[in-house]
């Protein structure tokens, strides 16, 4: 049977995480459809129809889908679930929010954060902050899955020409309402899609130092900005900068860790990066255990020096 991928979007653009989820879906079934549930999301549906390997796009439009609230979104996914053997979403804040709701209604287990499709019913997923990889087999008729994007290369965003089928929204009078949103404004690449990430930790000492040292280096490298939990907790940067077990999972070409000691929870979020650079004054810091290039130095002099050297 076919697989359905829930598109990640904000009604205006299709998010890149969807491409990784489609790759995983194609490994579960040769027939992959994409659901675009939103409000006025025609542009998203058009973009989804171009994804290589997609059979068809199902577009559901309703006012209460505008903010991707879990209740109405789950209701739409459930209305289509009978046609599919696999329901997949990227393991983003939205995917993690809605998919267990779907699984529970179907009375099936969910497979969270899969990193490999072994077969149509068997998957690999990290547990214990990535310190162990479990191979799990599902005996349920429908597999509800969230996909860790770093585990799968993205499928080509263009090349496909799937038909867009409009489906009616099922009635879903939810008991939750959207109030507001404070999104971090940035012209930088998204953390989870960036080729280079510069991350700062507690060693910086303050939000001002983060701005003064980490930001110019990221500017120079065209990098996204990240942070350790300690830096976020201390208020240096907003929550959505957090890389780690319970923050964002990233795997860029280059990850530069500045003043980050490397707690296992942080390593869980970045250790699949291709090249890791660590700058820290403590030679015993665990971050050096995963770094390809380690520099034991005072970051307050080394980082400006590095920024300058790249000019």
């Amino acid at each position: 049977m076919a697989a359905l991928v829930i598109a990640e979007h904000d009604n205006q653009s299709l998010k890149a995480a969807t491409f990784n989820a489609v790759t995983a879906a194609l490994q579960c079934s040769p027939e992959v459809d994409v659901l675009v549930a939103g409000n006025g999301a025609d542009v998203v549906a058009t973009a989804a129809a171009k994804i290589a390997g997609v059979r068809k796009v199902i577009q559901i439009d309703a006012l209460n889908l505008a903010d991707q609230l879990a209740e109405p979104l789950a209701a739409q996914i459930l209305s289509l679930a009978g046609n599919y053997s696999h329901l997949l979403a990227p393991a983003t804040a939205s995917g993690k929010n809605v998919m267990p709701r779907v699984a529970a209604k179907l009375d099936v287990a969910q497979l969270s954060d899969i990193t490999k499709v072994v077969s149509a019913d068997t998957f690999e997923r990290p547990i214990y902050a990535g310190n162990a990889i479990a191979t799990v087999q599902s005996s349920d008729a429908v597999k509800v899955i969230t996909v860790r994007t770093t585990g799968f290369d993205p499928v080509a965003a263009t090349g496909g020409s799937a038909a867009i089928e409009k489906a009616a929204a099922v009635d879903s009078a939810g008991k939750s309402a959207f109030v507001g949103r404070e999104l971090t404004k940035s012209d930088r690449p998204e953390l989870t899609a960036a080729k280079i990430i510069v991350s700062g930790g507690r060693g910086l000492g303050s939000g001002e130092k983060y701005q003064e040292l980490v930001v110019p280096l990221a500017d120079k490298l065209g990098a996204a900005l990240g942070a350790s939990r300690a830096a976020v907790d201390a208020g240096y940067v907003p929550n959505d900068y957090q890389v780690g077990q319970t923050g964002k999972i990233v795997a860029p070409q280059l990850y530069v860790a500045i003043g980050i000691s490397g707690a296992i929870q942080h390593l869980a979020g970045m250790k699949d990066s291709k090249v890791i650079v660590a700058i820290n004054k403590d030679p015993e810091a665990p971050i050096f255990g995963v770094a390809d290039y380690g520099l034991v130095a005072d970051l307050f002099t080394a980082v400006p020096e590095l920024t300058k050297a790249l000019s």
Partner: protein
């Protein structure tokens, strides 16, 4: 208003677990066990709501082996009023736990159910959402701020691009993120007081729920190791390596 808080006993967050040599799982014999950190935040939030006069009773619940009583005692020492242990030796998966919690939520007539957003052992991030779904009530996951007023919960959530605020009618499920609060240190007098509080022990059969596991773990392995890196002497050497060896800049 009654609040139900669900907690889980997990390997302490400071312990780096080892995979068993037969690949059947991770070795948790003789390692330190603690309350899942997100659940500690959940207990703290519930107790604060009681201290603020919004909640009348905080009931803490867990499911698992006999030793889970220790985790419940910690929650009682933080300030929960009483506890329930659903005792079983069977491996519990999120769907099974959600079913157990559904039965208890209905029995207790809880208006708010607070859970950690994920347990740091299986990293599933499912139980709260599944519970809300089974109860047909709204959910606010990844909460960083909770305001209860006029019969509804207004919750700020940590999402990928920043923060989002939603309003829920009650009853509702809330799952906690890291920055919701900072749990208090448990004091000795409160530990002593907690010993006098009640822990009711029930069996899953008493609740009439099916807790059979749906996922079978075929094997557990070590993740691929990163090959050892090199230490560079200075910034110049670092730039040279990045340009000519790694070729990433």
């Amino acid at each position: 208003m009654k609040i139900l808080v669900a907690v889980k006993r997990v390997v302490d967050y400071n312990v780096k677990v080892r995979v068993k040599s037969d690949n059947s799982g991770v070795d948790i014999a003789n390692v330190k066990m603690s309350m899942n950190p997100f659940d500690e935040i959940a207990v703290e939030e519930a107790v604060r709501l009681k201290e603020a006069g919004i909640a009348t009773e905080v009931v803490v619940v867990t499911a698992g082996v006999t030793q889970c009583q220790e985790t419940l005692r910690t929650a009682l020492a933080i300030g929960a009023d009483r506890a329930i242990l659903v005792e079983t030796d069977i491996e519990l998966q999120p769907l099974a736990v959600a079913k157990i919690l559904k039965a208890l939520s209905e029995k207790e007539q809880a208006q708010i159910i607070i859970l950690g957003k994920q347990a740091i052992d299986d990293d599933s991030n499912q139980t709260g959402q599944m519970l809300a779904s089974l109860l047909d009530i709204p959910q606010a996951t990844f909460a960083s701020k909770v305001v209860i007023a006029d019969g509804k919960a207004t919750v700020t959530r940590e999402v990928d691009g920043g923060l989002e605020t939603i309003a829920l009618s009650l009853p509702a499920v809330i799952t906690t993120d890291l920055r919701l609060n900072e749990p208090r240190y448990v004091t000795l007098p409160n530990i002593m007081k907690a010993k006098k509080k009640t822990i009711d022990i029930v069996k899953p059969e008493d609740l009439g729920v099916d807790i059979a596991p749906r996922l079978k773990t075929l094997k557990v392995e070590e993740p691929p190791k990163r090959s050892a890196g090199v230490m560079v002497a200075d910034v110049t050497a670092l730039v040279e390596k990045l340009k000519n060896e790694a070729k990433v800049i």
